[in-house]
């Protein structure tokens, strides 16, 4: 791919007029505009990412940045699935309020779905989990998000079925923003699925999740953008006392994708797990970063991140565990395994541990291994063609992680994995 890096003039990318235009398109009142203008000020004060700093060492940020915020042309809409009984489907796209299809059961349970602009009236949580000051892309999103939704699961509510958020990318710029608030003691599952896009797609997304006291939230991110799309997604959860978040990321699509995922274990007894599946082929460039930040006592986190690459695909995984002095009795685990099917594929894996207290249990592991030719030969010697043998081996590589997922999540992720692997090119000869 020709490097299309351009000289950046960030003042022309985002000015007050652009912010006002975005606010207009996305809908929302004065509160929305005020927070956007504050974010604009932050954006102006935030220097663009520095490639020397570790988080940007592997990816040229300028290739992720939209050249302008000019809205894309008409959007190709995918088929919207009907929500199953007890479920809900929300479609999010730029320049339109979220479209909600809810089963009666989900509505009666009291799940609130609001356009983010409306929710901002009186909603203090916006920007607290991922503040504009988080970084350049996050400030850009906070000022200029062009489609947003706020989901609130009231305290004590247990949802049987997942809430499906279908985020549709145009072949151009889009800045979706999602806020999920899981009330005290609630239990819910949110599936955030990114689809659509094309060569011109520049997606800059932010998802904020607030997990209340004793609540359990499942968050599944299915990144299935079309070939050519470029995306930067930031996802953060703040977990309150004895609450838990389980994040599953399946990142398969696009040509250049950077994701920054993580949890702040803010109060004692909070738990967070991140399970990752990355499949890359051709010239796909994938850059994933996870953060587990422990600031309270007796918090727990685990990361199981798996990457399989073929063709000339590239992956960088950086996993940061930070345990503050205020977090004794904490357990944190992290494992990243990479499987390379072709000689040209490359994977980097960088664990980062910042442990400031002694009273912790923490382990981490990372491996990068080529495809085992003897496994391929064994399967082939049974009549299984080489490509299929490789798919079986990749599937096997993911299996131990997949099999730990609860059935409801596993079904979604497995379907996405199968679909992706069907088209996966053989790499070994």
């Amino acid at each position: 791919m020709a490097d299309t890096a351009h000289t950046l003039d960030t003042t022309t990318l985002l000015d007050e007029a652009a912010v006002r235009a975005a606010a207009e398109r996305a809908g929302g009142g004065d509160a929305s505009l005020d927070t956007r203008l504050e974010a604009l000020a932050t954006f102006r004060d935030t220097p663009p990412p520095d490639r020397v700093r570790h988080l940007w060492r592997y990816t040229d940020f300028s290739r992720l940045l939209p050249e302008s915020l000019e809205p894309a042309g008409p959007l190709a809409m995918p088929e919207i699935p009907e929500p199953p009984d007890g479920g809900m489907v929300v479609v999010l796209r730029p320049g339109a309020p979220p479209e909600v299809r809810s089963s009666d059961a989900a509505r009666e349970a009291g799940v609130r779905v609001l356009p983010l602009g409306e929710a901002l009236e009186g909603e203090e949580l916006f920007g607290t989990v991922v503040p504009a000051s988080h970084g350049y892309f996050e400030a850009l999103n906070a000022a200029a998000w062009d489609g947003g939704v706020a989901l609130t699961i009231p305290g004590g509510v247990h949802l049987e079925r997942a809430i499906r958020l279908l985020v549709v990318a145009p072949d151009g710029v889009s800045l979706p923003r999602i806020l999920v608030v899981a009330g005290r003691g609630s239990e819910a599952s949110v599936v955030e699925e990114h689809v659509g896009g094309g060569e011109a797609t520049r997606l800059v997304g932010v998802t904020e999740l607030s997990v209340g006291e004793g609540a359990n939230l499942r968050h599944t991110v299915l990144q299935r953008l079309d070939a050519g799309a470029r995306a930067h997604l930031t996802t953060r959860a703040r977990v309150a006392r004895d609450g838990g978040i389980s994040t599953v990321v399946a990142s398969f699509g696009g040509s250049l994708v950077k994701m920054d995922l993580g949890s702040l274990l803010a109060e004692q007894g909070a738990r967070s797990e991140i399970v990752g599946f990355v499949l890359g082929e051709g010239r796909q460039h994938m850059d994933h970063h996870t953060v587990h930040e422990h600031v309270a006592p007796r918090t727990w986190s685990n990361i199981d991140f798996k990457v399989a690459l073929t063709g000339r695909a590239r992956s960088a995984y950086t996993g940061l565990i930070r345990i503050e002095t205020t977090a004794p009795g904490t357990e944190a685990y992290q494992e990243n395994r990479n499987l390379l099917l072709s000689e040209e594929a490359r994977a980097e894996t960088i664990p980062e541990l910042e442990i400031l207290t002694d009273d912790v249990q923490c382990t981490h592991g990372a491996t990068v291994a080529p495809l085992d030719e003897e496994q391929v030969f064994y399967l082939e010697s049974r009549g299984i063609p080489g490509d299929e043998a490789e798919r079986l081996i990749v599937r096997g590589f993911l299996e131990a992680t997949l099999s730990r997922l609860p059935d409801s999540v596993r079904t979604d992720v497995e379907a996405a994995v199968e679909q992706r692997l069907k088209a996966f090119e053989g790499g070994h000869r």
């Binding site: 030969f377 082939e380 096997g396």
Partner: protein, 255 residues
């Protein structure tokens, strides 16, 4: 068809990089025939077997046919789908792939169409019973954490399900306890019947008491140095290999 040549190889040489390991092997196996291949450690028996199956790590010269068709240039999976089978001396573990899923993929590949679920279940149940393998193995990961003997049983189970026309069994008897040897031998005999050809690599006479060979070949330093009837195996058991060493041989290849 009985007496039909199911497998042949002509002047097969196998090289690893520039080292010649197999130095000209010619062999013909007819339907219903069982051949034993015996020879000292490191003489190249496994290399020959893997190369005949099409292992990509070797350079092979010579001609290999299966049911009269030249398969020398074919990939391992093409050979397998045409009915060649290799029971590995060291079966390879494939973590995460269940025995059942693997077997379904293999049977479907060999048949050229998906095997219906019910038929698959029935076949599997019978084969597991015949080889006295607990059903719980269906859900386990392929060869992952299996004992030596369990792996060998599973190799023969695969042979049973894939119904090859010609099978290379590389030390299927090593690692089996006395009872297992009997069960596995019965399995081999049952599958082999009178239409399949078999080349059995072994170090021991014992398995040959159950799986009775028509021919015994002595393999040393990359070559068949003597062929004879079943009595040759007994002679080897008594006398070892030294008396058969080819004159002026044993310096490990002329490279």
């Amino acid at each position: 068809m009985k007496n039909e040549v199911v497998f042949s190889c002509e002047d097969v040489h196998v090289f690893v990089e520039d080292k010649e390991i197999v130095k000209g092997v010619t062999l013909e196996v007819r339907a219903g025939e069982k051949h034993a291949l015996m020879g000292p450690n490191g003489s190249g028996k496994s290399t020959l077997a893997a190369a005949l199956m099409g292992h990509p790590g070797y350079r092979v010269e010579g001609r290999i046919t299966l049911l009269g068709e030249d398969v020398s240039e074919m990939s391992p999976d093409e050979r397998a789908r045409r009915g060649m089978f290799l029971s590995f001396q060291y079966p390879v573990a494939v973590p995460g792939v269940s025995v059942a899923n693997f077997l379904r993929a293999a049977i479907s590949a060999r048949r050229g169409e998906e095997i219906p679920v019910r038929e698959f279940r029935k076949l599997l149940t019978e084969a597991f019973a015949a080889l006295d393998i607990p059903r719980s193995f269906m859900g386990r990961y392929l060869n992952d954490g299996f004992s030596g003997g369990e792996k060998k049983r599973l190799e023969i189970l695969q042979m049973m399900l894939l119904e090859p026309v010609f099978a290379l069994l590389d030390e299927t008897d090593s690692g089996l306890d006395i009872d297992a040897l009997k069960v596995v031998s019965e399995g081999i005999n049952r599958v082999a019947g009178d239409h399949m050809g078999l080349l059995l690599v072994t170090h021991y006479q014992r398995i040959l008491n159950y799986v009775r060979p028509d021919r015994v070949h002595v393999f040393m330093d990359g070559r068949i140095v003597r062929s004879g009837g079943p009595e040759l195996a007994h002679e080897l058991e008594e006398r070892g290999y030294d008396w058969l060493a080819p004159e002026g041989a044993a310096v490990g290849g002329a490279a």
